[in-house]
Symmetry: C2
Subunit: 249 residues, 2 copies
């Protein structure tokens, strides 16, 4: 990926990371263009939301797995709010997972079915668990850098909010609160992680770790959309046991 013999400046490393996003972030995937452009029917949007729930639900486990190997207290102190952002506290803050369930319930899917993840595509679960696994191995730079897709999230969330509200009569503001909230949360996380990576990736090997990790994470997101595209859009080949129209109430 990068020339392993040369150490990049911070600016060069940041540019190389942003280039990966520009080429591989899942905003470029045809399924997202269909989703945001109003080209999907309600069942297809349900399938997307049900599958994407697996990812949302796994993020606090991913962050706990990261913290389990993090020996720097300062880093843990910063990282812990990611878990809280997604889990909420059950009192004042509902959290990202609850907000995602507001979307799936608003779409008319039984929340127990969503939470069980049993009807999700196996490919979704494999990709998500690969991410949980990834942060447990290799260098800390690699683990932190795998979260850098957040750098590119606000743009896709803005596109999603306006596109879905405009194009689907079964979507209203109340079910889009997950994305509104992430517009504020993601930049904070991304800026911290980027700063960490730029400061700590001081050798060619660590810089390669960072670039590889971001590529890996883009693959995790991309492959989930590939699986949705095949199963629910074209050629609409739903694998055995996965979410079908008769499961959608």
């Amino acid at each position: 990926m990068s020339d392993q013999s040369k150490v990049l400046s911070k600016d060069e490393l940041e540019a190389a990371l942003r280039k990966i996003g520009a080429e591989r972030y899942h905003s470029l995937h045809p399924f997202h263009k269909l989703l945001h452009g109003g080209e999907l029917n309600k069942f297809q949007v349900q399938a997307w939301a049900l599958n994407r729930y697996c990812y949302q639900a796994a993020i606090p486990r991913k962050d706990a797995a990261f913290m389990a190997r993090c020996t720097e207290r300062e880093l843990r102190r910063e990282w812990i709010h990611r878990i809280q952002d997604h889990d909420g506290d059950g009192v004042e803050e509902e959290g990202g997972i609850e907000r995602w369930l507001a979307l799936t319930t608003g779409l008319g899917i039984n929340p127990e079915m969503v939470i069980s993840t049993e009807k999700a595509l196996p490919a979704t679960r494999f990709a998500v668990e690969a991410y949980v696994d990834y942060v447990q191995k290799g260098t800390m730079v690699r683990a932190v850098a795998s979260s850098l897709t957040e750098l590119f999230a606000p743009k896709i969330h803005e596109e999603r909010i306006s596109g879905m509200l405009e194009n689907y009569d079964f979507i209203d503001e109340s079910v889009m609160k997950y994305f509104r909230r992430r517009l504020k949360q993601a930049p904070r996380d991304a800026n911290f992680a980027l700063k960490y990576v730029l400061e700590h990736a001081t050798t060619a090997a660590l810089q390669k770790d960072a670039l590889d990790a971001l590529t890996f994470k883009c693959n995790v997101l991309w492959s989930q959309l590939d699986a949705l595209y095949l199963a629910y859009y074209s050629p609409a080949m739903i694998p055995p046991g996965a979410f079908r129209e008769e499961d959608a109430n």
Copy 2:
């Protein structure tokens, strides 16, 4: 999946396992029908062989991970030949991975590219690693039962050997030796594993583990073909970084 309150007889459990195979084994996947029926071009067959290499190459790691938690010496003594079957000894026995490379090389793909697995679909790698991970968790019945897809392998191998030899002028007997050899190896392994599962899955919970494990493993195989179908057949959407026509040769 099964009624958790009822303990099945050995015959009923075997029947339930075979039913999963009959409904979910990847012999039923449209990509295999295309492959065996001569409906793919050489590039598509290359993509299949290159991706499937990831699976082949991971099997000895999977079996070592299994043995790492296996406290019964008798079971390890039986299991170790699976690693040897795939790795060979470099002297008298080339092993399954080497035989798979004879196929990819015979198809004209650079073996270094194949071995690196860098051009494989991310979805392939996620599915394969999910299998390596799976045998490390849960009960031993679950870990053993995840190998039971071998019960259904001989039929697909026979179909593949005759179909591919007949339908593709770039396939000859010399590159099909992997499958010829597996015709003998797979039944031995499958019969042992089936006997183990039938003897040890003596509670409803363990029987559910066995059935779930076989379902999981069918998903591992199926999702690899889903990814190939989308990327290389229809709509032929190759994800960023994966094997492309210009990589072949």
